[in-house]
């Protein structure tokens, strides 16, 4: 892969007048797992949602700066967010399967995207990639809401994989799950890394250390005049460096558990 998948320059995100995160500069590289870490409220999820234009769903949200995807400015006026989201998928914090059957959950994306091919095959392939096939292959028509939390989240991953994206964004995907389910998803991430680029927001430092290739550490700073907090990027480097020999003192304090 030549060049980064995402290249972010001087990104600031505003909700109305309030600046939620400022001056973010980082790159996401292909077939790697990049983790956004840091305490709550420092803009990790906000930045993540910029990568697939999900912030568009919030009325008052706007950005300054650029987010480039393979050299294309994602926020160019002419860009259609629907096409962006087909290529850059997302898994959310709380599993949110559609109240439909397992089959229809996975098939929905491909159907509306008009994907050619045998739908049964696409569904099976996606469920296998998400390590869920064996558990649900006999009950594809049953409701997705009958699955356990961990299974639902893997179903959401299968759903995201079904439209054949290049990138998968994960917003704290394991925070609502028990440790065993969390472990399975972490294993899954390592397995699919070879074919996808993954960006994960996580509160769990140990998870970031276990799973990611690169880390971006965010923190907040207080705006004295308005008594609000704005998030900012502190440091962005390979994971081993971030955890063993970080450049910034704040990073070191965080990863050694002195705060956060």
């Amino acid at each position: 892969m030549t060049g980064p998948v995402f290249d972010v320059h001087d990104l600031s995100v505003y909700y109305g007048q309030f600046r939620a995160v400022r001056d973010v500069k980082l790159q996401i590289f292909g077939n790697e797992i990049t983790a956004f870490i840091g305490p709550s409220g420092c803009g990790k999820t906000t930045v993540l949602r910029c990568f697939n234009r999900m912030n568009d769903l919030i009325e008052s949200a706007r950005i300054e700066g650029t987010v480039e995807y393979h050299g294309v400015d994602l926020y160019d006026r002419a860009i259609n967010p629907v096409e962006v989201r087909r290529r850059i998928g997302m898994v959310f914090q709380k599993p949110n399967p559609f109240p439909k059957s397992i089959y229809d959950n996975v098939a929905f994306g491909p159907r509306i995207a008009g994907m050619k091919g045998d739908m049964d095959e696409i569904v099976e392939r996606s469920l296998r990639r998400a390590a869920l096939w064996d558990e649900v292959k006999d009950r594809l028509k049953s409701s997705a809401t009958g699955l356990s939390g961990g299974q639902q989240q893997r179903l959401c991953i299968a759903r995201a994989l079904a439209v054949d994206p290049e990138v998968i964004l994960m917003d704290e995907p394991c925070s609502a799950l028990d440790p065993i389910a969390t472990g399975r998803i972490e294993d899954l991430m390592q397995e699919i890394k070879a074919e996808y680029t993954i960006v994960i927001v996580t509160h769990n430092m140990q998870q970031a250390a276990r799973v990611s290739d690169r880390c971006a550490f965010f923190t907040t700073e207080v705006n004295e005049l308005s008594d609000t907090r704005t998030g900012m990027l502190v440091e962005f480097d390979r994971t081993e460096t971030m955890f063993s020999n970080p450049a910034d003192e704040r990073t070191e304090n965080y990863v050694t558990g002195r705060f956060g």
């Binding site: 030549t2 060049g3 995807y69 393979h70 050299g71 294309v72 994602l74 160019d76 002419a78 860009i79 259609n80 629907v82 096409e83 962006v84 290529r87 008009g114």
Partner: protein, 310 residues
């Protein structure tokens, strides 16, 4: 990525497909649906003002102060109708407010959950009883059983029976809005009161009801608006469809603004009579529209105040 690939990717990401075009068309169609309501309001105002203006500009002012409302004969004493409407509304509120409020307080504060789960839907279903039914009931039961017993010699069609009917019709509305207002009062207020050793009566009357007062006022205003706008009960039970002399006696037949409009239009040929008969209909309609609009705007303000509080 070579520059050429970037261009291709950019084009892909812009995606001018049939899917996108369909989205644009649907969005326009739905916006048209939403705009329709504005069109309706405009049409209502237009229809009323156009003919009402003809009436106002051509009517002889003497006709307006002559006694009684007899549009087919060219007598348009609007006071008769206004007083009629007021009388009916006042009596209706005397019936509806105590019963509706009492029901609401009971349901919100005293009723066990099981009773509430049955009674509240029951009240909502009863709110759907059409006004023609209540009108018939007013004429054939309330009038003989209640009104004529109250005062001998009352004719079967009288304002009192109709007004009681309108009141009955409005009870579910008052009960529903008041109950919602009281349920909106946070439990913490009640708990604070009990915590100080107050009994239920005190808590309800001196804590909950004052806290819910915006919603209760809204309920009252909405009820008044509904009563003023009620047509069929008066049309069927209050008589005086040909016209009415000015009267403040509820034990006589009478007319309200609404029933006058219906009486005007009823009959085998829509609207006939002296020169401005047709236009008088619109004049009354405009007055009615303005009155109920003012009341509804007031009520909305109180409802918004409730929402702001909690």
């Amino acid at each position: 990525m070579t520059p050429l690939d970037v261009t291709t990717l950019h084009a892909d990401l812009c995606g001018r497909t049939a899917r996108q075009q369909r989205e644009a068309v649907i969005r326009i169609a739905l916006r048209a649906c939403a705009s329709l309501s504005i069109l309706v309001s405009a049409l209502i105002v237009l229809s009323l003002v156009r003919e009402a203006w003809t009436f106002v500009s051509q009517v002889e002012w003497s006709a307006l102060v002559e006694d009684g409302w007899f549009p087919r004969r060219g007598i348009y004493d609007i006071r008769t109708l206004l007083v009629g409407s007021l009388l009916v509304t006042a009596i209706a509120m005397v019936v509806a407010i105590p019963l509706g409020l009492g029901t609401a307080v009971f349901l919100a504060e005293y009723a066990p959950p099981l009773a509430r789960r049955i009674l509240k839907p029951a009240l909502e279903v009863l709110a759907g009883i059409p006004s023609v039914v209540v009108g018939f009931f007013a004429l054939t039961w309330i009038s003989p059983e209640v009104v004529q017993r109250l005062r001998d010699g009352t004719p079967q069609s009288n304002v009192m029976a109709a007004a009681i009917g309108v009141g009955i019709l409005t009870i579910p509305l008052v009960a529903s809005i008041s109950e919602d207002a009281m349920r909106a009062v946070p439990p913490s207020l009640r708990e604070a009161s009990y915590g100080m050793g107050a009994r239920k009566l005190t808590t309800t009357v001196r804590v909950v009801i004052p806290a819910a007062v915006s919603g209760l006022v809204a309920a009252f205003i909405v009820a008044v608006s509904r009563a003023i706008g009620e047509t069929m009960v008066v049309f069927i039970a209050a008589g005086a469809t040909g016209g009415s002399l000015f009267t403040m006696d509820p034990f006589e037949p009478g007319q309200t603004m609404t029933a006058a409009m219906a009486a005007q239009a009823a009959g085998t040929d829509a609207v006939r009579g002296a020169a401005l008969t047709f236009q008088s209909l619109f004049f009354v309609g405009l007055l009615l529209f303005l009155i109920t609009l003012a009341l509804n705007l007031m009520a909305n303000r109180f409802v918004r105040r409730v929402r702001q509080q909690y």
